[in-house]
Homo-oligomer: 117 residues x 2
Amino acid sequence: MKIGELSKRTGVSIRMLRYYEAEGLLKPERTESGYRDYDTTELRTVERIKLLGAGGMTLSTILQFLACVRGEGPIFEPCDELRVTLRQQIRLVEERTEKLAQNRQVLTSFLAEIGEA
Amino acid sequence: MKIGELSKRTGVSIRMLRYYEAEGLLKPERTESGYRDYDTTELRTVERIKLLGAGGMTLSTILQFLACVRGEGPIFEPCDELRVTLRQQIRLVEERTEKLAQNRQVLTSFLAEIGEA
DNA sequence: TTAAGGTCTGACAGCGCTGTCAGAGTCAAG
DNA sequence: CTTGACTCTGACAGCGCTGTCAGACCTTAA
Protein backbone atom coordinates (compact mmCIF):
# COMPACT_ATOMS: atom_id res chain seq x y z
CA MET A 1 0.00 0.00 0.00
CA LYS A 2 1.07 3.60 -0.49
CA ILE A 3 1.92 6.00 2.28
CA GLY A 4 -1.43 7.75 2.29
CA GLU A 5 -3.30 4.57 2.98
CA LEU A 6 -0.89 3.47 5.70
CA SER A 7 -1.30 6.86 7.27
CA LYS A 8 -5.07 6.62 7.31
CA ARG A 9 -5.04 3.08 8.59
CA THR A 10 -2.63 3.77 11.43
CA GLY A 11 -3.46 7.32 12.24
CA VAL A 12 0.19 8.24 11.93
CA SER A 13 0.79 11.28 9.76
CA ILE A 14 2.54 10.91 6.44
CA ARG A 15 5.20 13.20 7.76
CA MET A 16 5.91 10.87 10.65
CA LEU A 17 5.88 7.74 8.52
CA ARG A 18 8.61 9.25 6.43
CA TYR A 19 10.38 10.24 9.61
CA TYR A 20 10.20 6.68 10.89
CA GLU A 21 11.91 5.64 7.72
CA ALA A 22 14.56 8.31 8.05
CA GLU A 23 15.24 7.00 11.54
CA GLY A 24 15.56 3.48 10.22
CA LEU A 25 12.36 2.08 11.66
CA LEU A 26 10.71 1.33 8.36
CA LYS A 27 12.17 0.32 5.02
CA PRO A 28 9.34 0.18 2.48
CA GLU A 29 9.85 -1.03 -1.04
CA ARG A 30 9.72 1.48 -3.84
CA THR A 31 7.67 1.39 -6.99
CA GLU A 32 9.38 2.10 -10.29
CA SER A 33 8.35 5.70 -9.98
CA GLY A 34 9.75 6.00 -6.50
CA TYR A 35 6.59 5.75 -4.45
CA ARG A 36 6.89 4.01 -1.10
CA ASP A 37 5.16 0.65 -1.18
CA TYR A 38 4.38 -0.78 2.23
CA ASP A 39 3.87 -4.42 2.97
CA THR A 40 0.80 -5.16 5.10
CA THR A 41 3.09 -6.42 7.85
CA GLU A 42 4.33 -2.89 8.26
CA LEU A 43 0.89 -2.09 9.54
CA ARG A 44 1.67 -4.02 12.66
CA THR A 45 5.16 -2.61 12.93
CA VAL A 46 3.73 0.87 12.93
CA GLU A 47 1.20 -0.07 15.58
CA ARG A 48 3.96 -1.37 17.76
CA ILE A 49 6.00 1.74 17.29
CA LYS A 50 2.97 3.79 18.26
CA LEU A 51 2.48 1.72 21.36
CA LEU A 52 6.09 1.97 22.45
CA GLY A 53 6.04 5.65 21.68
CA ALA A 54 3.01 5.90 23.95
CA GLY A 55 5.29 4.44 26.59
CA GLY A 56 7.41 7.51 26.25
CA MET A 57 10.11 5.84 24.24
CA THR A 58 12.26 7.72 21.82
CA LEU A 59 12.37 6.44 18.26
CA SER A 60 16.08 5.86 18.61
CA THR A 61 15.40 3.77 21.69
CA ILE A 62 12.80 1.76 19.81
CA LEU A 63 15.27 1.34 17.01
CA GLN A 64 17.62 -0.50 19.35
CA PHE A 65 15.44 -3.55 19.46
CA LEU A 66 13.75 -3.09 16.14
CA ALA A 67 14.42 -6.71 15.28
CA CYS A 68 12.03 -7.71 18.04
CA VAL A 69 9.46 -5.20 16.98
CA ARG A 70 9.56 -6.36 13.40
CA GLY A 71 9.17 -9.98 14.44
CA GLU A 72 6.69 -11.99 12.45
CA GLY A 73 5.25 -13.80 15.44
CA PRO A 74 1.97 -12.84 17.05
CA ILE A 75 4.03 -11.29 19.79
CA PHE A 76 7.62 -10.23 20.07
CA GLU A 77 10.24 -12.88 19.92
CA PRO A 78 11.89 -13.46 23.25
CA CYS A 79 14.45 -10.75 23.19
CA ASP A 80 16.71 -9.94 26.09
CA GLU A 81 17.64 -6.66 24.52
CA LEU A 82 14.01 -5.64 24.61
CA ARG A 83 13.59 -6.66 28.21
CA VAL A 84 16.62 -4.66 29.24
CA THR A 85 15.48 -1.62 27.35
CA LEU A 86 12.00 -1.86 28.78
CA ARG A 87 13.34 -1.94 32.31
CA GLN A 88 15.57 1.03 31.63
CA GLN A 89 12.67 2.89 30.16
CA ILE A 90 10.53 2.14 33.18
CA ARG A 91 13.29 3.49 35.38
CA LEU A 92 13.42 6.60 33.26
CA VAL A 93 9.70 7.11 33.56
CA GLU A 94 9.91 6.63 37.30
CA GLU A 95 12.66 9.20 37.58
CA ARG A 96 10.63 11.69 35.65
CA THR A 97 7.66 10.99 37.85
CA GLU A 98 9.74 11.65 40.93
CA LYS A 99 10.95 14.89 39.51
CA LEU A 100 7.41 15.96 38.77
CA ALA A 101 6.45 15.14 42.34
CA GLN A 102 9.21 17.47 43.47
CA ASN A 103 7.99 20.14 41.09
CA ARG A 104 4.53 19.83 42.50
CA GLN A 105 5.90 20.10 45.98
CA VAL A 106 7.73 23.30 45.17
CA LEU A 107 4.65 24.80 43.60
CA THR A 108 2.25 23.92 46.37
CA SER A 109 4.69 25.28 48.92
CA PHE A 110 4.71 28.54 47.07
CA LEU A 111 0.99 28.65 46.90
CA ALA A 112 0.70 28.03 50.62
CA GLU A 113 3.33 30.63 51.31
CA ILE A 114 1.54 33.45 49.56
CA GLY A 115 -1.76 32.41 51.01
CA GLU A 116 -4.22 30.15 49.27
CA ALA A 117 -6.76 32.95 49.29
CA MET B 1 28.28 43.05 40.93
CA LYS B 2 29.37 41.70 37.60
CA ILE B 3 27.94 38.66 35.91
CA GLY B 4 30.70 36.30 36.95
CA GLU B 5 30.12 36.94 40.59
CA LEU B 6 26.37 36.64 40.32
CA SER B 7 26.89 33.37 38.52
CA LYS B 8 29.10 31.98 41.27
CA ARG B 9 26.82 33.17 44.01
CA THR B 10 23.68 31.74 42.49
CA GLY B 11 25.05 28.73 40.72
CA VAL B 12 23.36 29.83 37.52
CA SER B 13 25.64 29.82 34.51
CA ILE B 14 26.66 33.07 32.89
CA ARG B 15 25.03 31.86 29.75
CA MET B 16 21.72 31.47 31.53
CA LEU B 17 21.93 34.81 33.30
CA ARG B 18 22.25 36.45 29.95
CA TYR B 19 19.39 34.34 28.72
CA TYR B 20 17.22 35.45 31.63
CA GLU B 21 17.89 38.98 30.55
CA ALA B 22 17.07 38.24 26.94
CA GLU B 23 13.77 36.80 28.14
CA GLY B 24 13.08 39.94 30.12
CA LEU B 25 13.55 38.47 33.58
CA LEU B 26 16.53 40.60 34.55
CA LYS B 27 17.46 44.12 33.56
CA PRO B 28 20.88 44.89 35.04
CA GLU B 29 22.48 48.30 34.81
CA ARG B 30 25.44 48.71 32.52
CA THR B 31 28.81 50.19 33.30
CA GLU B 32 30.25 52.74 30.92
CA SER B 33 32.13 50.01 29.16
CA GLY B 34 29.02 47.92 28.75
CA TYR B 35 29.49 45.38 31.51
CA ARG B 36 26.35 44.18 33.23
CA ASP B 37 26.15 45.54 36.76
CA TYR B 38 23.74 43.66 39.02
CA ASP B 39 22.15 45.08 42.10
CA THR B 40 22.30 42.80 45.13
CA THR B 41 18.53 42.49 45.08
CA GLU B 42 18.87 40.62 41.83
CA LEU B 43 20.46 37.89 43.84
CA ARG B 44 17.11 37.14 45.35
CA THR B 45 15.32 37.49 42.05
CA VAL B 46 17.58 34.87 40.55
CA GLU B 47 17.00 32.56 43.48
CA ARG B 48 13.28 32.86 43.00
CA ILE B 49 13.57 32.19 39.33
CA LYS B 50 15.60 29.10 40.11
CA LEU B 51 13.00 27.92 42.55
CA LEU B 52 10.11 28.43 40.18
CA GLY B 53 12.12 26.81 37.45
CA ALA B 54 12.57 23.86 39.79
CA GLY B 55 8.80 23.74 39.84
CA GLY B 56 8.91 23.02 36.15
CA MET B 57 7.93 26.49 35.09
CA THR B 58 8.97 27.96 31.82
CA LEU B 59 10.79 31.26 31.90
CA SER B 60 8.03 32.83 29.86
CA THR B 61 5.56 31.61 32.46
CA ILE B 62 7.63 33.10 35.24
CA LEU B 63 7.82 36.30 33.29
CA GLN B 64 4.06 36.63 33.50
CA PHE B 65 4.14 37.50 37.16
CA LEU B 66 7.61 38.87 37.27
CA ALA B 67 6.38 41.90 39.20
CA CYS B 68 5.56 39.60 42.11
CA VAL B 69 8.87 37.84 41.87
CA ARG B 70 10.78 41.09 41.86
CA GLY B 71 8.89 42.30 44.93
CA GLU B 72 10.98 43.90 47.63
CA GLY B 73 9.13 42.27 50.49
CA PRO B 74 10.47 39.28 52.39
CA ILE B 75 7.97 37.23 50.45
CA PHE B 76 5.95 37.83 47.34
CA GLU B 77 3.39 40.54 47.43
CA PRO B 78 -0.12 39.22 47.39
CA CYS B 79 -0.63 38.67 43.72
CA ASP B 80 -3.65 37.05 42.21
CA GLU B 81 -1.87 36.61 38.95
CA LEU B 82 0.73 34.51 40.68
CA ARG B 83 -1.84 32.38 42.43
CA VAL B 84 -3.64 31.69 39.18
CA THR B 85 -0.44 30.79 37.41
CA LEU B 86 0.65 28.54 40.22
CA ARG B 87 -2.59 26.62 40.11
CA GLN B 88 -2.34 26.26 36.35
CA GLN B 89 1.19 25.06 36.69
CA ILE B 90 0.19 22.51 39.31
CA ARG B 91 -2.48 21.27 36.94
CA LEU B 92 0.10 20.99 34.20
CA VAL B 93 2.40 18.99 36.43
CA GLU B 94 -0.44 16.71 37.40
CA GLU B 95 -1.32 16.10 33.79
CA ARG B 96 2.24 15.20 33.00
CA THR B 97 2.31 12.89 35.97
CA GLU B 98 -0.81 11.14 34.73
CA LYS B 99 0.69 10.73 31.33
CA LEU B 100 3.81 9.21 32.80
CA ALA B 101 1.68 6.81 34.79
CA GLN B 102 0.11 5.72 31.51
CA ASN B 103 3.53 5.37 29.95
CA ARG B 104 4.61 3.18 32.80
CA GLN B 105 1.51 1.09 32.42
CA VAL B 106 2.18 0.52 28.75
CA LEU B 107 5.75 -0.47 29.43
CA THR B 108 5.02 -2.86 32.26
CA SER B 109 2.32 -4.50 30.18
CA PHE B 110 4.85 -5.09 27.47
CA LEU B 111 7.33 -6.50 29.85
CA ALA B 112 4.75 -8.88 31.27
CA GLU B 113 3.68 -9.86 27.78
CA ILE B 114 7.08 -10.97 26.63
CA GLY B 115 7.75 -12.71 29.88
CA GLU B 116 9.55 -11.14 32.79
CA ALA B 117 12.24 -13.78 32.48
C1' DT C 1 -5.74 14.96 -22.92
C1' DT C 2 -6.43 17.29 -18.92
C1' DA C 3 -7.03 18.21 -14.23
C1' DA C 4 -7.24 16.79 -9.61
C1' DG C 5 -5.14 14.53 -6.06
C1' DG C 6 -1.30 11.68 -4.33
C1' DT C 7 3.64 11.42 -3.79
C1' DC C 8 8.51 12.77 -3.89
C1' DT C 9 12.66 15.37 -1.70
C1' DG C 10 14.59 18.90 0.97
C1' DA C 11 14.48 22.36 4.06
C1' DC C 12 12.79 25.80 7.51
C1' DA C 13 10.45 26.49 11.90
C1' DG C 14 9.32 25.91 16.69
C1' DC C 15 9.28 24.15 21.49
C1' DG C 16 12.86 25.65 26.01
C1' DC C 17 16.70 25.74 27.21
C1' DT C 18 22.07 25.19 27.43
C1' DG C 19 26.78 24.72 25.97
C1' DT C 20 30.33 26.50 23.18
C1' DC C 21 33.00 29.05 20.02
C1' DA C 22 34.67 33.22 17.75
C1' DG C 23 36.38 37.84 17.61
C1' DA C 24 36.91 41.90 20.26
C1' DG C 25 36.98 45.07 23.99
C1' DT C 26 37.94 45.77 29.29
C1' DC C 27 40.01 45.47 33.74
C1' DA C 28 43.37 44.71 37.26
C1' DA C 29 47.75 43.17 38.97
C1' DG C 30 52.68 42.97 38.30
C1' DC D 1 52.88 48.41 29.50
C1' DT D 2 51.91 43.72 29.26
C1' DT D 3 49.44 39.76 30.36
C1' DG D 4 45.83 36.97 31.98
C1' DA D 5 41.23 36.85 33.43
C1' DC D 6 36.75 38.66 32.56
C1' DT D 7 33.05 40.46 29.67
C1' DC D 8 30.61 41.61 25.41
C1' DT D 9 27.67 40.19 21.22
C1' DG D 10 26.07 37.02 17.97
C1' DA D 11 25.43 32.76 16.23
C1' DC D 12 25.48 27.62 15.67
C1' DA D 13 24.25 23.17 17.71
C1' DG D 14 21.45 19.73 19.90
C1' DC D 15 17.52 17.36 22.12
C1' DG D 16 12.85 14.70 19.60
C1' DC D 17 9.69 15.31 17.15
C1' DT D 18 5.97 17.59 13.95
C1' DG D 19 3.86 20.75 10.82
C1' DT D 20 4.24 23.08 6.56
C1' DC D 21 5.73 24.86 2.31
C1' DA D 22 7.94 24.69 -2.25
C1' DG D 23 8.76 22.77 -6.68
C1' DA D 24 8.24 18.74 -9.36
C1' DC D 25 6.71 14.26 -10.77
C1' DC D 26 3.14 10.33 -10.88
C1' DT D 27 -1.40 8.36 -11.34
C1' DT D 28 -6.06 7.88 -12.27
C1' DA D 29 -10.49 8.87 -13.77
C1' DA D 30 -13.47 11.71 -16.56
